[in-house]
């Protein structure tokens, strides 16, 4: 069985290798490299923005001010219940028609920031709520003030608990950034498209894109593992 099946597979893959054009990939590597960097910086900007927006939205959502909490709630809910593509098209086509004009990259970063921010808000909230109220009372009892409690008790733990899901969200964000190719930003997916349309080589083009995404994925996954190892004290 193995021998019977083995032969055609070997045959097929060598046939693939013959038709798979590595030379063209090398030719396009500079393009992929610059697009890889573009994906990196668009994602990094989106990540940073979404952290800020997410933390702010979370802070408002759990605040005492009813109106602000409600606004944050509407923001989080409406983002989470609609497709990113629709949000992106709204910012790209909709906002200019209402008179707001931005560059493509600003539009892309804005979409990633606001989209991911809604998910970040929930992640941060879960992190803060994971800290038992008893610890905070213990800290109050020993005379630590609000800032000291934040600095030494709440934030170190909230960040620790939040880091793994946050990196998970970062991975999602990087993959979502592929949609920015639709508003003609030169990022990784766009590089695959360019190679496909210029040389009619979709397999080579998109596989190369995928490989670059894989690199980012493994870096983020490595960070996730590292951060989870540092959380071992939390496990009872």
């Amino acid at each position: 069985m193995g021998r019977l099946n083995g032969r055609p597979i070997v045959y097929m893959s060598s046939a693939m290798l013959e038709t798979f054009n590595f030379r063209v990939i090398f030719e396009y590597l500079p393009l992929f490299w610059s697009c890889f960097l573009a994906t990196l910086w668009l994602s990094a900007a989106g990540l940073l923005g979404s952290l800020l927006v997410g933390t702010l939205a979370c802070g408002l959502r759990i605040s005492r001010f009813k109106l602000l909490a409600w606004i944050a709630g509407v923001y989080i809910e409406s983002i989470r219940s609609t497709p990113l593509l629709v949000q992106l098209f709204f910012f790209y086509f909709g906002l200019p028609s209402l008179g707001f004009r931005m560059s493509e990259s600003a539009t892309g970063i804005l979409a990633l920031t606001l989209n991911s921010g809604a998910y970040m808000a929930e992640i941060v909230r879960a992190g803060i709520q994971s800290i038992s109220h008893g610890q905070v009372e213990a800290a109050v009892s020993s005379g630590l003030n609000y800032l000291q409690r934040m600095r030494h008790i709440i934030l170190p733990q909230a960040i620790g608990v939040t880091l793994p899901p946050l990196l998970g969200q970062a991975i999602v964000l990087v993959k979502d950034s592929a949609l920015l190719s639709l508003i003609s930003l030169s990022e990784l997916t766009r590089a695959g498209q360019i190679m496909t349309s210029e040389r009619f080589m979709p397999a080579e083009g998109f596989l190369t894109s995928a490989l670059f995404y894989l690199i980012i994925y493994y870096i983020l996954k490595g960070l996730t593992h590292w951060s989870q190892k540092r959380l071992i004290y939390m496990q009872t």
Partner: protein, 242 residues
Amino acid sequence: MIEFRDVHKWFGELHVLKGINLKVDPAEVLVVCGPSGSGKSTLIRCINRLEPIQKGALIVDTMKVHESKTNMTRLRAEIGFVFQQFNLYPHMTALQNVTLAPMKVRKTAKKEAEDQGRYVLEKVGLGDKLHQYPAQLSGGQQQRVAIARGLCMRPKIMLFDEPTSALDPEMINEVLEVMRNLAREGMTMIVVTHEMGFAREVAHRVAFMDFGELMEIAPPREFFAHPKSERTKLFLSKILTH
């Protein structure tokens, strides 16, 4: 050292402390017992204003707890509080748990705080657990770290809210032993507990609380031999037969 004068406390509509009058002397050990929901925790949580009171006067070592302008940080630094659930900081080692407040609130230098932390942890029998995280310690050990955390602030008063209720029976004694030693050294203590053996042996007075009132308060010999009110008798008969 601690004085309640007609102290009232409400949670919304719920009247939880109904005119508490109580005086605790320096170096006195007071044990408070009573049924669940009678207000024991609330009583001692008012002392460091974990709960604010709505009426009456509460004075701790010349500080007026009922006045909002009283410096809470100073007050709380003088009072150690031990919780039923230990409430250690899980991301810090035993030594870090006990040195945080001395360094941040008392502004003790790190070296000095650590020397003291080591000394106190050794005193509660945890000299070999300095660098363990709470999750690596047994319940009894965690509670002893919690007591050490209170002691490292060199408090004048130690409050205990059912310190052994969350512990497995075989660990209760190691915690009570630490508290016995503290009492012997002359610490002012209020202990909410149902460990009547501890009350008999260590307490100077025992109080019975019911429906937000201190029904009865007397030295242990008298308290156990001749409880005055029917409710105290009933309560004692219930917990002593356990």
